[in-house]
Amino acid sequence: MMRKFREKLPGRIFFLLALSSISVLALITVFIVVQGAPIIARVGVIDFVFGMSWAPSQGEYGIFPMIVGSLSVTLGAVVLGVPIGICCSIFLAEFAPVRLRNLFRPAIQLLAGIPSVVYGLWGLIFIVPFIRNYMGGPGLSILAGSVVLAIMILPTVISISEVSILALPPAYKEGALALGMTHWQAIRSVQLPAAKSGIVAAVILGIGRAIGETMAVIMLLGNAVALPSSILDPIRTLTTNIGIEMGYATGEHREALFATGIVLFVVIMILNSTAQTIVKRKKDQ
């Protein structure tokens, strides 16, 4: 009797721990939905999501420009950051001499530990004036946000891709080389495809970080609520909308910000599941 209980105890404890973290997640979700859903219902899902005008004082709650904002800044960060990140990870995993690698790794981890407000400041002082002077526009723009976010997602992309390349069985590489491939051919046609699911996971996490980032982009995007016509225009994202207005919002306005949170949640879930189906489909081939 006692023995049986002891055997099962660890399983139960871990189950409880797992349950508690899931329930916290559930609690947060429920809280946001309860706070935000009523106003979506009142305004109407279509008008809320695709509405072009955001004027809480006049009771207008359309967040489409911010959805466009979140997606465009994230896309920009991915386009700029992911290729660089993957190249870095290949370099670290395959080419860098041990000493260089030991220098790079902690440096990259440090990059991950810098608070986002510092990234924002840095962007404000270097990137924004650069864009204003050499490319035009106000400087506070999609491009400025994308550049800084690209740097912010680098550590995630680099370290997870690197780990997934290093975790490959050495047999892949040896087998490829023994077939007469050069090192680069082995990387490109065997190792990278084999590490693909890990690299995609890295990109997904990078996207998650970019789309959820608030502080740095508040400082860099200009925060205008309007559809942009170029990457040099200012914009507002879903997160910055919440971050800027939550401090003073009351009543219906406050509810609308929670509703913005719901939309952010949904957007992230859509992105994640798309990425995951891509990985799955590729794997089944």
């Binding site: 892949y172 080389l177 077939l179 007469g180 050069t182 046609s189 065997v190 084999a194």
Partner: protein, 254 residues
């Protein structure tokens, strides 16, 4: 090339992993179209020797070698030797089956494509021939486009042999190719080696002494990085000259 000609000639070869010497003064001639077994207890340096032949050992940092290895009378370290081409000529099969993460067909077509063969029909022919030589065609002809990982261990290993054959090598190096396999897969591989030696020179690190006696035309015994003796035919097993060899063969080294 007829049997009897020297295909590979190893001269005063020494190999070092950093400070640690793994091979000492190896002198060995390997004749064309025969199966040479290289056997010995763990850590004898057999893997190091096999991987030296196709210069796969070069890739490990801080290694160093002395002496020479000649293939068809030409040093593999000669400056004009293209290493990737050398590795095509001396194909290698590893102890753990290592199919690439792609389909059965692509695993085999990969090497030929890499070396410039693009014609679809000819590729398909090469794939079929290679699979037949490796005694795998009947098993997989209906599922060439399934992932190679879906094969059993023995089939994966035969796939790796077929993959090497598709490159039209001259020498096949096999490092304990049957170590994880069941007796039936093992005997299939042994059978196909007997067919293959008509066209290729084969150097194998056998699974155990029994396997060596079944398959070899000559056998070499290694111990702690040194080549102890070489025997043609059953010589090494029937009349070992060195006491250490007979100890190993009668099972005293495990």
């Amino acid at each position: 090339m007829k049997q009897g000609n020297t295909k590979i000639s190893i001269r005063d070869y020494q190999f070092f992993y950093g400070e640690k010497q793994a091979l000492f003064d190896i002198n060995l001639d390997i004749r064309a179209n025969e199966i040479l077994s290289v056997l010995g207890p763990a850590n004898s340096g057999i893997t190091t020797l096999l991987r030296s032949l196709n210069r796969l050992c070069d890739l490990i940092p801080k290694v160093r070698m002395q002496g020479d290895i000649l293939v068809d009378g030409e040093s593999i370290y000669a400056p004009h030797v293209v290493v990737t081409e050398l590795r095509r000529r001396l194909g290698m099969v590893f102890d753990v089956p290592s199919p690439l993460p792609m389909t059965i067909f692509d695993n085999i077509a990969f090497g030929p494509r890499l070396h410039g063969k693009k014609n679809r029909q000819r590729l398909a022919d090469t794939v079929e021939q290679s699979l037949r030589m490796a005694a795998l065609w009947e098993d997989v002809k209906d599922r060439l486009h399934m992932p190679a990982m879906s094969l059993s261990g023995g089939q994966q290993q035969r796939l790796c042999i077929a993959r090497v054959l598709a490159l039209q090598p001259e020498v096949i190096l096999l490092d304990r190719p049957c170590s994880g396999l069941d007796p039936i897969s093992t005997s299939k591989i042994e059978d196909s080696l007997q067919l293959l030696k008509k066209r290729f020179t084969i150097v194998i690190a056998p699974h155990n002494v029994q396997q060596a006696t079944r398959i070899s035309d000559s056998a070499a015994f290694m111990l702690m990085g040194r080549l102890i003796e070489v025997g043609v035919g059953d010589d090494l097993f029937a009349n070992p000259r060195d006491k250490r060899t007979s100890d190993y063969i009668t099972g005293r080294y495990g």
